[in-house]
């Protein structure tokens, strides 16, 4: 044994025996990344902005004292505010820049150099940002419903009634956020200015086509998700005239659910392809 080998052997003896652990599985690694994403997103700037944004519907409900009816609130205000505007917007702000932020901060390398796949990283980030978006929106929606049902506010919206319906509303919100989070992730991976394009998409497609009649409405995710809302949210007296042609009964609900599931699967598939192809070079490189 020469001198170098002797020194090496001595150092090896002094160093605790290292047993390389098995890399974390898909679920564990996704949860780790999701927790990390949540921690990152609960930064002061973004959270203050989103909290302010999500306070707006609560504020509108609070100042609309005695002016609305229960049907109006449930079938128009809540779906428009939460499903058409806030779900896509919040998902966009939280998910579209997940990878871009890590690339710009040059911290993505720390994650990419671990024995976890890029798909795991993507899924974990979607899970984390989706969780934050869901928590914020459901909190805001629950607050808006509570304020609306406060005595002296919106006539006829008694708590025992809306609470039962709210569970169904919340489930549709969760599904919407999953879809918009996947869509925002694809946009974030393939577009240069995903937030800007996302807002353009939201205005042109989701808001314009949600209550539109005829085939163009089918391209809006919101058109399908609003159909899944509980019955209380589907008594749109205000919409009866403008949506007279809307074929509510045209597609059975299970088919809509399957269709949205397939859409979610396809969007995640697109995101996986994009994340596997991307090299994540920074603007400064």
């Amino acid at each position: 044994m020469n001198e170098t080998q002797q020194i090496g052997a001595k150092l090896a003896e002094e160093t605790p025996k290292f047993i390389r652990p098995d890399p974390p599985g898909f679920v564990r690694a996704s949860v780790l990344i999701a927790c990390h994403t949540v921690q990152k997103l609960i930064g002061p700037k973004r959270l203050i902005f989103l909290t302010a944004l999500l306070f707006i519907p609560v504020f509108i409900v609070a100042i609309s004292k005695h002016e609305g009816q229960a049907d109006e609130f449930l079938s128009f205000f809540a779906p428009v505010a939460y499903l058409l505007v806030l779900a896509p917007l919040t998902s966009l702000f939280l998910s579209a820049t997940n990878f871009a932020d890590e690339v710009d901060n040059r911290t993505l390398g720390y994650l990419l150099l671990r024995p976890i796949s890029r798909e795991t990283l993507l899924f974990g980030q979607c899970l984390g940002s989706g969780f934050v978006a869901t928590a914020l929106i459901l909190f805001s929606a629950a607050a808006a419903h509570l304020v609306a049902a406060w005595p002296g506010h919106i006539t006829g919206l008694i708590p025992s009634y809306w609470m039962g319906e709210f569970a169904g509303f919340a489930a549709v919100v969760v599904l919407s956020i999953a879809l918009y989070t996947a869509l925002s992730s694809v946009a974030g991976l393939v577009l240069k200015r995903p937030v800007l394009w996302g807002i353009v998409y939201m205005v042109i497609v989701e808001i314009t086509f949600c209550y539109a009649a005829g085939p163009p409405s089918k391209i809006a995710i919101s058109h399908h998700t609003t159909r899944l809302l509980p019955e209380a949210y589907l008594t749109p007296e205000i919409l009866v005239t403008e949506a007279a042609n809307r074929p509510f009964e045209a597609v059975p609900i299970p088919v809509t659910i399957i269709g949205l599931g397939v859409t979610l699967f396809l969007l995640l598939g697109l995101a996986v392809v994009a994340v596997r192809r991307s090299e994540f070079t920074s603007k400064e490189d």
Binding site: T4, I7, G8, L11, A12, T15, P16, F18, R20, P21, D22, P23, P24, A29, L32, I33, H36, K40, G43, N105, R106, T107, G109, Y110, L111, L112, L113, R114, P115, I116, S117, R118, R276, E279, F280, T281, D285
Partner: protein
């Protein structure tokens, strides 16, 4: 020669019309290898290709015999300490390292112990570990970065400018750590522009300029292979002028310069393409001239002169 840990075959990387790495073919052997080149030479891009963060536009890059792009299992055997100083600024070093440990596969107490062990190893003080990384000095950030690269005991470690921001004591400690790792059988690829530190660490170099490998291998072999670039041999003697007369008569000596050092000491700088013949003839000439040779040195048989010469070509 053992099988290469890392190999590139005709690897090129383009960014639009700009070529960052141009048709690189090389093998990296176990031990410490220095990757040298001026700014913009393509060092970081090459490290990106070597660590699987970038996909070669053309060619193939393999580590441990497997293609490295889109192969996360290889990350168990590879570590990278990149040149950028960025972190999750609100985290402490301990939190950051524990998170990295968990992503590597350590759980609970094992992750905590491993994070503490690696931070001890890079010399980050215990009181500093619990502060947010945004309050760290450059040297502390460098140590934290190095720690994350060592968490999983990689067999192949890539270090991009690892000494940047470290004070002399820190540089010494990190050099010793790297030497220790090399002695333990780790292979290390160091990209740096601080040539004397590389010389202290290794003789194995890769010289890169404009995306191409200019030279590869042992520094002294590279120097010896540059036949058209004359060697400079410096001789300090009490009878330098007499020696110069004898040396200029030799065919292989192209020039001799005399520099007065003190009243009775002068330095000769001999330019030659055959240093071996000069070393053979020097004792003979010294005897003939009755000269006492005080010192012989080769000022350009070092990394810096080879680097300057090759990059300037």
């Amino acid at each position: 020669m053992s099988a290469p840990l890392l190999s590139a075959r005709g690897a090129s990387k383009w960014y639009g019309q700009v070529i960052a790495v141009n048709d690189v073919t090389l093998d990296i052997q176990p031990g410490i290898t220095a990757l040298l080149g001026p700014n913009g030479a393509g060092k970081s891009t090459l490290l990106g290709l070597f660590t699987g963060q970038l996909r070669p536009t053309r060619g193939l890059v393999e580590a441990f015999g497997e293609p490295i792009w889109d192969n996360p299992r290889l990350n168990e055997r590879i570590g990278l300490c990149h040149q950028y100083d960025n972190f999750y600024e609100e985290m402490t070093a301990v939190e950051f390292l524990r998170f990295i440990c968990r992503l590597t596969g350590f759980r609970g107490t094992a992750a905590r112990q491993r994070a503490d062990y690696v931070l001890d190893r890079v010399g980050l003080e215990k009181c500093d570990r619990v502060r947010a990384i945004r309050t760290y000095s450059k040297g502390m950030r460098q140590r934290t970065k190095l720690a994350q690269a060592l968490v999983h005991e990689p067999e192949l470690l890539f270090l991009d400018e690892p000494m940047t921001g470290l004070d002399p004591v820190g540089r010494y400690e990190i050099s010793k750590l790297l030497e220790g790792l090399a002695k333990m059988g780790k292979s290390i690829v160091v990209s740096t522009h601080i040539l004397h530190e590389v010389e202290a660490l290794t003789d194995q170099i890769l010289l890169l300029a404009e995306g191409r490998i200019l030279a590869e291998g042992d520094i002294h072999q590279i120097r010896a292979s540059l036949e058209q670039h004359p060697y400079q041999i410096r001789v300090v003697s009490n009878a330098a002028r007499a020696l110069a007369v004898l040396l200029t008569a030799d065919e292989h000596v192209s020039a001799v310069k005399i520099q007065e050092l003190t009243v009775d000491r002068e330095a000769l700088t001999i330019s030659t393409t055959r240093a071996d013949l000069v070393f053979d003839s020097l004792p003979r000439h010294a005897q003939t001239a009755g000269a006492y040779i005080e010192e012989i040195s080769c000022p350009d048989d070092n990394l810096e002169s080879v680097f300057d010469y090759l990059v300037g070509q």
